[in-house]
């Protein structure tokens, strides 16, 4: 294009960012700006729709169209935006409470329909804005103002929920991963259908370092595996570790390459189109590594496209003619 390329600064607004100092949301916001710049997204044709929560404040800080809506309803409102104008690039920003507690039904149906939305789920495993109550992703035993003795609601796993809803795209990243996030965001953007990206986000006030076990830079190499379609599942600081499927138990196990004759050939190869592999990865528990990257992606007809094709609201008939259809009594 002739217009000068936009830098990531061009996607920031004049509004003062109002998150707590040190909140993980800052770095995610930066990655969003970066992703938009990388894609040279047209601000006029880009819309950020959010619910309510600390995370949902994000649209005010992105120089595109934006709609800060009500708690849990962003996917439903975004659906209306997209159906009304399929040419728009529609993003949804939500939190673990907004998207998975009150908003679970709309997220389910957006994923099921496979409407072309890019949904960013800021998962800090807590209700931040309302001062720290446990959320549907909080781990068992989480102490909070509403669970002084520790929570005993089994948490939901966003990725597994997405698979169950029939998601055609699910990716996962960590808030501080400035290198990785923009790429995931743009992969979501390019996906035709509902793309859900879960970002592990650090709420330093109410759930400080809850992801330290996987996010901590020191141990990340051993605690995270970044899966790539078509490549064997290798991780570790020296890429010395791998994941293998135990055919008997149908469970994943971690192996050390080279040790008792295990080679790359023995490792599971990531197939992002196979939900069974996604389920194996997402169902794996520590000490197995936490899966990052594009965990599931498969082509499928997008709802908005089918809708636009089946329901083109071009006026071809005058209403006046419509009124005269059927039995008419002429008394003129």
């Amino acid at each position: 294009m002739n217009a000068p390329a936009r830098t990531f600064k061009d996607y920031a607004t004049d509004q003062e960012v109002r998150w707590c100092p040190g909140c993980g949301d800052y770095s995610i916001l930066k990655a969003v700006h970066r992703a938009l710049a990388d894609a040279q997204a047209d601000p006029a044709r880009t819309v950020f729709v959010s619910g309510i929560g600390c995370s949902s404040r994000l649209p005010y800080y992105v120089e595109t169209y934006g709609f800060h809506t009500i708690h849990g309803r962003a996917p439903a409102i975004a659906t209306g935006v997209k159906l009304a104008n399929p040419e728009l690039d529609v993003w949804v920003v939500t939190g673990d409470g907004d998207g998975l507690s009150i908003g679970g039904n709309h997220l389910l149906h957006a994923l099921r329909r496979n409407i072309d939305l890019n949904i960013l789920l800021f998962n800090n495993e807590i209700y931040g804005l309302t001062k720290g109550q446990y959320s549907p992703t909080s781990r068992l035993g989480t102490r909070s103002p509403t669970s002084p003795g520790g929570s005993f609601d089994a948490p939901v796993t966003p990725g597994l929920f997405a698979l169950g809803a029939g998601a055609t795209f699910f990716a996962r990243g960590v808030d501080i991963d400035q290198k990785g996030l923009p790429g995931l965001f743009n992969a979501a953007r390019e996906h035709k259908g509902t793309a859900l990206v879960e970002i592990l986000q650090n709420c330093i006030v109410y759930n400080k370092d809850v992801f330290d076990d996987v996010a901590n830079k020191k141990t990340a190499a051993e605690r995270q595996i970044h899966v790539v379609h078509g490549e064997p599942m290798i991780y570790g600081a020296e890429r010395q570790l791998g994941l293998r499927l135990n055919p008997a138990t149908l469970k994943l196990e971690s192996v050390t390459l080279g040790e008792n004759g295990v080679g790359e050939a023995d490792l599971l190869v990531h197939d992002e189109t196979n939900p069974v592999i996604a389920q194996l990865l997402l169902g794996a528990e520590a000490p197995l590594p936490a899966p990052m990257g594009i965990i599931h992606r498969r082509p499928a007809p997008a709802f908005d496209a089918a809708f636009a094709a089946a329901k083109p609201t071009r006026r071809r008939v005058r209403v006046q003619d419509l009124l005269h259809r059927g039995n008419v009594l002429d008394r003129r």
């Binding site: 009500i70 159906l83 419509l322 009124l323 039995n327 008419v328």
Partner: protein, 621 residues
């Protein structure tokens, strides 16, 4: 028994009744089409059970269809049927109560078996126990006669009997000398792919008709040709409220030159509007069936933000779920139309029965000071103009608008002069014009307080909106005390200013003094007829019917000041009465009925008689 006959009249009330499986509603619709083509004015009342296919022969399983038609102005389906066609004992008993003395009761004696009587909780046989003495009973073996008529087409008994409704229809078409053509055409279309059923139904229809003509029976019916109504010169069709509402919405879209996204979740009796619109893309509307009512209103709001007018439709319980999102529409100052097809409540209540009890919810039913314009339709045909008015207010004032209709209007039909769209003024929106310079979308039109309707895709107005209080000028988040006060006042004024665009309230009929009967919504037909009758009987009474409920027309207060008393008839416990006391400080007498049934004219006449004075002779100049 003397030859049963109806005394000649300008109009007749006919009621079909049978099992929900008997095709009673279809029968009624076909008779309606015929009588419309015959040039009768008419009004209908479908009355069916909540069950999809209730067990046969039970009282609660009875489905009925009533029509008043004739050669004069008709505004109600009639209080007391002149003719009842009952396909079985249950259909007879549940409808007896309403019949006028001397009414013609057509029954199939062969259906009055031990077992059928038991199904209808009858211990004795009404044909014998004298409970029909007040009426003219016409026993006709409709079942057997139908089977004979369709024998040639080799249907089984079950299928043969499914033609009974057309046989009886034929008889009634003969009785009132009305055309068979519409029904013949309909049968041809409907059973294109099923020749046997087509021929059978055609045969049944004609056989029923012939049965009336042939004189060789014991008690022939006397034919009562119905004169055509004195109709103004126009083209006419029949229309149900749901249909007219759907048509009005698409007409409004054309007038406003805006496309629409109709987002809804099925619910009785609102679904029919959605059904009518599904497939009308060619006139600029598309429909989205959402996962629930919240998603429906939210998708509609999203559409409005994106530049297509969002419309959502439901019934009381569903609208309850939408109220939070309606608040967001008010806060973000986006246009939207919320259609409420009211039904009997509370809670699930009686979904197939009618009521006007969501006025409180519409006017006052939101958290915070969140005013929303509210208007209501008065009749099936009036839904058309009301829908246009709702869209007009929404896009001119940038506000959600609630349109109230109800199950009665939605399902019943009337003869409708097809409107000329050119007669409607185009609808202005606050969309930025091509030439407009970039700027804040919160610049307001002082006449309406409406902001600019700019949408994604337009590089000039890239902006963010939300439900947090906004600075009245910039739209940025603001927790400023003074600003919140200013915004609250603005929201109040914005809805108040709608009244500046509302035509003065007029009097439907009657003098501007004496008793004012102030009504709204679907009671129109009954009130109009009642007031007409009371005027003829010399009472000093007038009919004022409100379309605009919030805000009320500016001249209403002054108009009412001229009356000695105000009577407010409603199908609720006094909700308009509250509104009038609140907004106008007037005191009113109430007539409230909450039984799931519309008013009958007599109920209103009675109330008027209690409150109105006889008219003094007026000295003509």
């Amino acid at each position: 028994m003397s030859q049963p006959q109806l005394s000649p009249a300008a109009s007749y009330v006919l009621r079909f009744a049978g099992d929900s499986g008997d095709g009673i509603q279809l029968q009624g619709q076909q008779f309606t089409a015929a009588s419309a083509l015959a040039g009768n004015d008419l009004a209908t009342l479908p009355d069916f059970p909540a069950e999809i296919r209730a067990p046969t022969g039970t009282r609660y399983g009875v489905s009925a269809f009533q029509i008043q038609f004739g050669g004069e102005r008709i505004t109600t389906p009639g209080d007391t049927p002149d003719v009842l066609i009952a396909f079985n004992p249950a259909a007879l008993v549940v409808n007896l109560r309403q019949l006028g003395p001397g009414a013609l009761v057509v029954v199939d004696p062969e259906t009055f078996t031990e077992q059928r009587l038991k199904r209808a909780d009858l211990v004795t046989n009404p044909l014998e126990d004298g409970s029909l003495d007040a009426f003219q009973v016409v026993p006709v073996e409709m079942g057997r006669l139908t089977q004979e008529a369709v024998k040639p087409f080799g249907l089984g008994v079950k299928d043969s009997l499914r033609c009974k409704n057309f046989w009886a229809l034929g008889l009634m078409l003969w009785m009132f000398d009305q055309p068979r053509e519409p029904s013949l055409r309909w049968i041809e279309r409907r059973f294109k792919s099923d020749q046997a059923m087509r021929d059978a139904n055609l045969a049944a229809l004609n056989a029923g008709h012939a049965y009336g003509e042939t004189a060789e029976l014991a008690h022939t019916l006397v034919q009562r040709p119905t004169p055509a109504a004195p109709l103004a010169a126009a083209e006419y069709r029949t229309v149900t409220g749901a249909e007219a509402l759907a048509l009005g919405l698409v007409a409004a879209g054309e007038l406003a030159d805006t496309e629409m996204l109709f987002c809804s979740y099925p619910i009785t009796p609102a679904s029919s509007v959605l059904h009518h619109l599904a497939g009308l893309e060619e006139v600029g509307i598309s429909t989205f069936q959402a996962e629930d009512e919240i998603a429906a209103v939210c998708a509609a709001l999203g559409a409005s933000y994106a530049g297509k007018l969002g419309i959502t439709s439901s019934s009381g319980p569903g609208v309850a779920l939408k109220t939070e999102a309606i608040g967001l529409a008010v806060a973000t100052e986006l246009p939207m139309v919320i259609v409420n097809s009211q039904r009997a409540g509370p809670s699930t209540g009686m979904p197939t029965k009618t009521e006007q009890s969501d006025l409180y919810q519409a006017v006052y039913g939101r958290n915070a000071d969140t005013p929303v314009p509210v208007i209501a339709a008065r009749s099936p045909g009036d839904c058309f103009a009301t829908a246009i008015e709702a869209v007009r207010i929404a896009v001119r004032h940038m506000t959600p608008v609630i349109l109230l209709t109800d199950g009665y209007i939605a399902n019943s039909s009337e003869l409708w002069p097809i409107p000329d769209l050119d007669a409607f003024a185009p609808i202005d929106t606050t969309r930025p014009a091509a030439g407009d310079a970039p700027g804040s979308v919160f610049r307001r039109d002082p006449a309406t307080q409406a902001r600019i309707w700019a949408s994604p895709g337009d590089p000039r107005f890239v902006h963010r909106v939300g439900g947090i209080e906004k600075d009245i000028g910039t739209g940025n988040i603001s927790y400023e005390a003074a600003n919140h006060q200013a915004m609250t006042d603005m929201r109040r004024d914005k809805v108040a200013k709608v009244a500046d665009f509302v035509p003065d309230q007029t009097i439907e009929q009657g003098p501007a003094r004496g008793l004012a009967v102030v009504a709204w919504g679907s009671t129109y037909g009954a009130v109009a007829r009642a007031v007409r009758d009371c005027l003829r009987s010399g009472l000093n009474v007038a009919h004022i019917h409100l379309r605009h409920l919030n805000p009320l027309p500016k001249n209403l207060s002054e108009l009412l000041a001229g009356f000695d008393a105000i009577l407010v008839p409603e199908l609720n416990n006094g909700q308009l009465a509250t509104l009038l006391r609140d907004r106008l400080g007037v005191s009113v007498a109430q007539l409230n009925k909450v039984s799931g049934q519309p008013f009958v004219v007599a109920e209103i006449v009675r109330a008027i008689s209690e409150h109105a004075q006889p008219r003094m002779k007026e000295v003509k100049p």
